[in-house]
């Protein structure tokens, strides 16, 4: 009866930002990104992509609580980069990877439907 609406799991409430950025006050080039209404799907690919960046010293994500629909991505970079730069780069790379994936997949489907 007092169950929260199901859509609360994936609709960002009004007045809340999808991504908020908080710089670490003690460590240079370290920051946390709080992403609202996302889970392991995005958290894990972001983290793994960040690990491929040689300027990233640390990248991790956590889902603080299963009923709080947000993730926190923490990035620590070397001085020639910044967490924000690394974050943007990771998203761009993933986006390009998915574009590539879509093209090759559609080519394969076409090839396959022609062959059989």
């Amino acid at each position: 009866m007092n169950a929260p609406d199901r859509y609360e799991r994936f609709v960002v409430p009004e007045g809340t930002k999808k991504v908020s950025y908080e710089r670490d006050t003690k460590i240079i080039n370290a920051a946390s990104f709080t992403i609202e209404r996302e889970d392991h799907t995005v958290g894990n690919i972001l983290r793994m992509q960040l690990h491929r960046d040689p300027n990233v010293l640390f990248a991790g994500y956590k889902l603080p609580h299963p009923l709080q629909y947000k993730i926190i991505v923490r990035i620590h970079t070397a001085s020639q980069s910044s967490p924000m730069q690394a974050y943007n780069q990771a998203i761009n790379d993933l986006d390009n990877e998915l574009n590539h994936l879509k093209t090759v997949f559609e080519e394969e489907v076409l090839k396959h439907s022609r062959d059989y």
Partner: protein
């Protein structure tokens, strides 16, 4: 929008389709990591949109099942959802209040069945009348296209297979009229209006387009041939038998142990244990290739399996786009000004 001089670490994955049917797909995904494979799997199951009945207005229901029960059953009927990617969620639709009249976010269905015979009457998905011919129950759609399917099959081969297929079709026509919603006896009636909406599996499983989506690491199996040759034929046989799935066999000509189906291996390690028990550790080495995956996708029929993968890639792209930093976040960071420069070691 290149920010700074960050070098790209982009990958270029490869795909090879093994088997493709409308509702089934098997393909290899290579040169990427498990996070990408798992993200795709998760998106296919929970975030690719489909259309399903979401709101039911019951006018008459004198059947044995109560209104909620019937509404729930209606929701679970898969509907052809090729339109779903282009549709709006009814909560985002400004043009209407999601009452079924709006073509951007909803499709209306009507059902009106009354039993006037002594025999029990099945109310099925085939009795649902859609206001949009492109959104109909998948079993009804499959039936109407089965005649076309028949024609395309004609050129393949005529004979036993054809007869079997015809029998199958005949059987479906007689016994499978559709997905049974409820059964009525004489005098019972069911009349309702249902509104189907776009949704995702995260909201409710009825919107999931996937029956099953799995991926496995491709195994790399290396047999130590020298050590294998030191085994007698009976030892070889008993070693092969130790695997619960048929991964290995003996070549009838050379009497050598060969890998017949590496993918049948379930990472149970039984053959490794057996080799050790036989006093031959290192007889076999099996490794999971960390960048190579074999996907199996089974669709409910709401969208084609191949389309499901394409949609999943598209949805994942949209998700990534949504988590990009907004411009005001970047500006707010710059407002740190001197402190910011100082913090960055400037």
């Amino acid at each position: 929008m290149e920010v700074g001089g960050g070098a790209s670490n982009q990958r270029f994955p490869k795909i090879k389709i093994r088997e493709m049917k409308d509702e089934y797909l098997k393909f290899e995904l290579r040169e990427t990591d498990a996070s990408m494979a798992n993200a795709l799997r998760r998106v296919m199951i929970a975030e690719v949109p489909t259309i399903a009945i979401d709101l039911v207005e019951i006018e008459v229901n004198s059947s044995v099942l109560n209104d909620e029960f019937i509404s729930h059953r209606l929701g679970l009927i898969p509907l052809t959802s090729d339109r779903a990617m282009g549709m709006r969620f009814s909560r985002d639709c400004d043009a209407c209040d999601g009452d079924g009249q709006c073509e951007h976010c909803s499709v209306e269905f009507h059902l009106d069945v009354r039993c006037d015979q002594d025999q029990t009457l099945d109310v099925t998905s085939a009795d649902l009348i859609s206001t949009d011919p492109s959104v109909i129950p998948v079993d009804v759609a499959a039936k109407s296209s089965s005649s076309a399917y028949d024609a395309s099959e004609n050129k393949a081969c005529l004979g036993l297979r054809q007869i079997l297929m015809l029998l199958c079709l005949l059987e479906r026509k007689i016994y499978r009229r559709g997905i049974i919603i409820v059964k009525l006896r004489r005098g019972q009636e069911l009349r309702l209006r249902a509104i189907a909406r776009k949704g995702i599996g995260k909201d409710h499983a009825k919107w999931s387009p996937a029956a099953t989506v799995t991926f496995m690491y491709e195994p790399e199996i290396r047999i130590n041939e020298e050590m294998m040759e030191s085994l007698s034929i009976d030892d070889k046989r008993s070693w092969i038998e130790s695997s619960p799935t048929k991964v290995f066999d003996i070549d009838p000509n050379t009497q050598q142990v060969v890998v017949v189906d590496p993918e049948a291996y379930t990472y149970d390690e039984e053959v490794i244990k057996k080799a050790e028990a036989m006093g031959k550790p290192g007889l076999i080495e099996i490794e999971a290739k960390e960048d190579s995956f074999i996907f199996t996708v089974e669709s409910t029929g709401a969208v084609k399996a191949s389309k499901l993968v394409v949609n999943a890639i598209e949805v994942l792209k949209q998700k990534l786009d949504a988590v990009r930093l907004s411009d005001d976040t970047v500006e707010a960071d710059d407002q740190f000004g001197e402190l910011g420069v100082h913090m960055r070691g400037g």
